[in-house]
Symmetry: C2
């Protein structure tokens, strides 16, 4: 029989049964109590330690459940063979790589067009919803659920899309997924992987590389040559067009209704033509009524609508959604219906509550006000700068385009700015090389270059002080050139 | 000037400022207060309503932030033009489809091999970790973070894999993703989409269809003919082998060391050969020491290791991980490094804490004890059944294979059982048709059929009473035939 003496007063703050459990477990793991040895009875140990018998019973129950000891009827408790048990010790972390050190380097002002405001996130509400959902101890929360995403969340998204973007869809036509790229990968599987996709140049790099990765031939038309005009489209003759009609990234242009109708008609004229409408930041428009989505005027069933909560709530959520026309939905069920959802059930439940309880509406209106005032401030300050030649892409989204009056090249401008602690990117960064397939990419193709530097200035997370400071530093770079 | 009278006593329980906010918002939305109308000053309204001035100020601040009213210096508060604001009303849900009704139909006993125990999930601990993480109000929680998954979570997984499965890897070699299928899709992009994959038949259907979807030629070798023997592999000459050496699904077999070494050597003999080791449920082994992973004995850098928390924690988490050999990791950085992670940051943080605080270790040991006793009980009961001819796949995983002594076909057996409320699947369900590409699947190819019915009996979530009841009903089906 083992004698057990535990110091229950000292050490970390923890329930008594936990201390007894930890002590005995440690003795067993370290080999001080060995296989087959008998433990004291719960009555005796409780007397020795001067704790209640139920406290000792809880400790023994835990040890039993985890396989450290076993109970033999009428004989008592014995130490088990623990060679099969998991014993996971925290390892000393490997030295963090150089890559990570580099990332951590702080900049003074970051004009990234992807930056969002994080200071106004409703942490309290999010925490409360999280807590309430976990309080239910619901078995459903542990099972993977519907492959398309939970029906109730899809209902909430369908209602939002209808009211905010004029999108016509039922919850049955929505697929929820972990980010736009995942949904594009799914779409490429549905459409076959041998098609040709057309997009504007410059454009959104991740969409470009995703379709290349999926085996697509990706062609581009320069926005400088009118972009996705009917003429350009007919000449390139793609199967699929990727477009952002409400607010093109990075140019910030809006596609006119006539052009939208022409492209819809073009798509309807052959069996396998589809238009992918990426409505990435349509939530934030600061002048005039929101522009209805392309999907809302599609009477041919040719638009695949893509949206995300990355900008309207937070990128870390990893929740996007795709609305498929009926014939693609059918194909989804037959060829991709076996995939589990890529979004955790709990996260889906939290988002559903956030929308249904009206918090999403309030958050959107509040954030639009905040972004609008940041937009107005940056625009006002830019108008005072002598080195600013032209401003475009205004009154929507989270960045402005600024043509700079300088002898410097775009690359030099960005590099000199970086040296002063200002992160800013030029539009060339969003120009694609003239590659059309993944294999060609390896050949180091050149992206087309532009005559004059155009900078993207994102204002999503910048204070007025930061904007002023950033513009001063940029002005300095131009003057010193 | 508008007069505002609000009943602050009645109605739902809510803070006073919230009631004032809701009242004024409603008046504006319903057009009872119109654009340009002046609101009472905060002083005056606080007197009229007999509340503190700061309460009214909070309500006005909220209305200001969300764009319902605006403040004009020295003049006061005025109603805004609200036509641009989001007003999301909850829509009546569309009638739920037949599909959903069908799913909801309850069965008496469900022997699904995918079922896990949900009653022993540590809800309290999970809730507490969730709460603590959200309490930090950390900006990082909102940003999408590292595309491979957070470094700290990858460190925790690397330590676990090393200690529990002998896997040799650094956090830099791990990619975290939303489920095995997502990681397989990523892998197919890295390996090019024109290869041939070999797997055993029967096997895991989702892996089969995922690689078909990605454009692979998928060949299968029958387990009845020895499965992935060196002879069979050399004859089929694939680029890629998908295998479950520690516990093949659904057969429950373990690949001998000699065969593992032969396949590793085979893989090392040509540049583009890789072995995908899906270590899906290796956590649950009830006799003898855990079998080390194939990855742990790979000295050629030819094993891609896949694992998941779906079985060890919960399928709804949607967290899997993949360990890539160095040359594939390089390819990942150059071709797939642009993808954002598919796992929400908050979920990653919660899991990291769960592992680092030792809860994962405790949960694994506890669940193994629970599953072991369910396994033992089912095995014992099966041995008493006269209609059971042979039992296999025992002492690991979450299901047993049972060969049934009956004149019924496997399909008849499963259908008759379903009529009695018992969900049970035959092994034919996991036999693949002899298709090799997605295009052929449409042709309704026949899967090979087996001579004698073999059932998969999962016990993950069944009580002893349910097991007894289910076996009685199954016995009845056999006797009545």
């Amino acid at each position: 029989m083992i004698e057990i003496m535990i110091d229950l007063q000292g050490g970390a703050k923890a329930p008594l049964y936990e201390k007894i459990y930890e002590y005995i477990k440690k003795e067993i793991v370290e080999g001080k109590m060995t296989q087959g040895e008998k433990l004291p009875s719960t009555r005796r140990l409780s007397e020795n330690l001067a704790v209640s018998r139920s406290t000792v019973e809880m400790a023994y129950d835990q040890l039993l459940a985890e396989g450290y000891i076993k109970a033999e009827p009428c004989r008592g408790f014995f130490v088990c063979d623990i060679t099969e048990l998991y014993r996971l010790e925290k390892q000393v972390s490997a030295p963090k790589s150089y890559e990570r050190e580099k990332k951590a380097k702080k900049r003074k002002v970051d004009f990234s067009p992807y930056a969002i405001d994080t200071g106004n996130f409703p942490y309290n509400i999010w925490r409360k919803i999280n807590k309430n959902i976990l309080l239910d101890d619901s078995e459903d929360l542990l099972l993977s659920g519907d492959g398309q995403g939970e029906y109730e969340l899809r209902s909430a998204i369908a209602a939002y899309l209808h009211q905010a973007r004029g999108v016509n869809c039922s919850p049955e036509e929505i697929i929820i997924g972990a980010g736009n790229e995942y949904l594009e990968i799914l779409l490429a599987q549905l459409l076959g992987r041998e098609g040709t996709l057309l997009m504007e140049n410059p454009g959104y790099p991740r969409a470009y590389y995703t379709f290349l990765n999926m085996g697509y031939t990706v062609k581009t038309v320069p926005t400088a040559e009118g972009g996705l005009t009917l003429d350009n489209v007919c000449r390139e003759n793609p199967d699929l067009i990727y477009m952002m009609p409400s607010h093109q990234f990075p140019m910030g242009t809006v596609m006119p209704l006539k052009q939208r109708l022409e492209l819809l008609k073009w798509a309807s004229e052959a069996a396998n033509r589809y238009l992918i409408e990426d409505d990435h930041d349509s939530e934030f428009r600061y002048r005039g009524k929101p522009i209805p989505s392309l999907q809302s005027i599609d009477c041919y069933g040719r638009v695949v609508y893509l949206g995300t909560f990355s900008k309207s709530i937070a990128p870390s959520l990893r929740i996007s959604y795709m609305v498929l026309p009926p014939q693609l939905m059918e194909k989804y069920h037959s060829e991709c219906g076996f995939y589990s959802t890529t979004v955790p059930r709990m996260q889906q439940e939290v988002l559903r509550e956030f929308i249904e309880q009206g918090h999403f509406e309030r958050h959107l209106n509040k954030m639009r006000g905040i972004y609008r005032s940041r937009h107005d401030y940056l625009l006002g300050e830019l108008k005072k700068c002598s080195w600013v030649k032209k401003i475009s892409g205004d009154y929507a989204g989270l960045h402005l385009l600024v043509q700079v009056d300088t002898v410097l090249s775009e690359e030099e401008l960005c590099n000199f700015a970086a040296e002063k602690g200002v992160r800013v990117s030029g539009i060339s960064k969003y120009l694609f090389p003239e590659a059309q397939s993944r294999k060609e990419i390896g050949k180091e193709l050149q992206a087309p270059t532009l005559a004059e530097p155009v900078l993207l200035l994102g204002y999503g997370k910048l204070s007025e002080r930061e904007v002023r400071h950033g513009l001063e530093l940029l002005g300095g770079v131009v003057r010193e050139a």
